[in-house]
Symmetry: C2
Subunit: 265 residues, 2 copies
């Protein structure tokens, strides 16, 4: 069974890309076959996985535009069992280009549905079990496509004050989508990022998020850890850059917690 998870939060800089890359890597390390779809025009997830801008011949824009299938656009990464459909600047034009297309909100969902058909026919190959969609920082047509295509959402929330403001907006957007375009959409979990136990503000925000989302918030909080911010400059996920650091260990624990939730579904 293929599970599709959007990593989304319209607040900028909260750790969406970092979570997509490192949770994806940790899931691949524990035996899942993972595909990351980079739908952010900045293409940070692609860069953070070592896919240079020049080598992105097919992107998630090519998939959304129907030029290629998801499997054709996917490229391997240094991590076994982890592939990525790269993102780039072509995505900037998607919203205006498809604004009059009646099917504009379902293009990604349709592409993933045909991927399932395509991979079912390739019986000799291992099947992808997870897709993680890295979303841009806005509630635009790209994020809408991701939420409509997903079974569930992973919401990174930075442990800082401004990050609290957007939570209720995101929650009501997810409700709206559940009510119309994707009735099964749920929140798989909320992950606290850049948590710093030494800073009062960080602790306060963490407890407010737990009060708001209850047990949807993962036990595992991702600590602020400079190695996590350094790894993408080497094109590596944190698990490859420094396996023993606090950031890697937190993403491994997060992957385990996430899989436990998936099994309990």
């Amino acid at each position: 069974e293929l599970r599709v998870l959007a990593v989304a939060n319209q607040k900028g800089g909260v750790g969406k890309t970092t979570t997509a890359i490192n949770l994806g890597t940790a899931l691949a390390a524990i035996g899942e076959k993972v595909m990351i779809l980079d739908t952010d025009p900045q293409g940070n997830a692609s860069t953070g996985l070592g896919v240079s801008p020049e080598s992105r011949s097919f992107t998630s824009y090519s998939v959304l535009a129907g030029h290629v299938s998801v499997l054709q656009a996917a490229v391997p990464t240094e991590v076994p069992n982890l592939h990525v459909v790269p993102g780039n600047n072509d995505l900037v034009g998607f919203e205006t280009e498809y604004m009059t297309d009646r099917n504009r909100a379902f293009r990604l969902r349709d592409a993933i549905t045909s991927m399932q058909g395509e991979q079912a026919a390739r019986t000799t190959e291992a099947q992808f079990t997870y897709i993680l969609i890295d979303c841009p920082p806005s509630l635009n047509l790209l994020t809408l496509n991701a939420l409509v295509a997903s079974n569930a959402v992973i919401v990174p929330v930075q442990c800082e004050f401004f990050a609290l403001e957007g939570i209720s907006q995101l929650n009501s957007t997810i409700e709206q989508i559940r009510g119309s375009l994707n009735p099964d959409l749920e929140i798989q979990g909320v992950v606290l990022t850049m948590h710093d136990a030494r800073i009062g503000l960080s602790q306060e925000v963490a407890s407010e998020v737990r009060a708001y989302f209850g047990d949807k918030v993962y036990e595992t909080a991702i600590p602020r850890n400079v190695k996590v911010a350094e790894a993408p400059s080497f094109g590596k996920p944190i698990l490859l850059y420094d396996y023993d650091c606090a950031g890697s260990q937190a993403y491994i624990a997060l992957a385990t917690e996430m899989i436990d939730r998936e099994k309990a579904r």
Copy 2:
């Protein structure tokens, strides 16, 4: 003379709102009359200036939609000589609502032009000398309106690896707008944010930004300083929350540097 400055960068979480609030406050403290236009649907700049969500009867959406003028929508803040046109969730619908309006890219520019007429008629009141526009983290119709309405752009760049990726995209967007919709648009300056002299990555990114933008980068770098992140939770700019901290002093230095550049124009 009224100068309009967009605070823009499509990368999320780089310090756009923090710079709009605190540079605006520092400019007001040195004698300028400042208006902040909050065009981010999250309304972080409004919250960081103490304007509660319930009290935002008029917003920058009301201005863009032509319901009220800029001066009617503006509310005072705790800072003398600093007003804000609040932002809120109504802004989310702007792009789709106005997608067929031929004038959609100029609505903010037109609103500011009529503001200049309106304030010229009020000869007994002090005139606004600066407008700072806090932009959302994307190159959408809201940011386009801000760039078309502005004389110049202030670009906050976080001293982290992913923040480097979007710079060339933003630069080419500004070039495109200069070539068509707003021939006078220039970069007033690039401000390094969340700089941490103890972290190698931060130093590396800072020198790459200086190599890319040359002397457009302000001498003043804003240090990472937890007080800066705490201040908005009290609805206060950093200068009111803790005047003596490194963050306040950096924003005061930045305001001075900016005014020097303005005078040298």
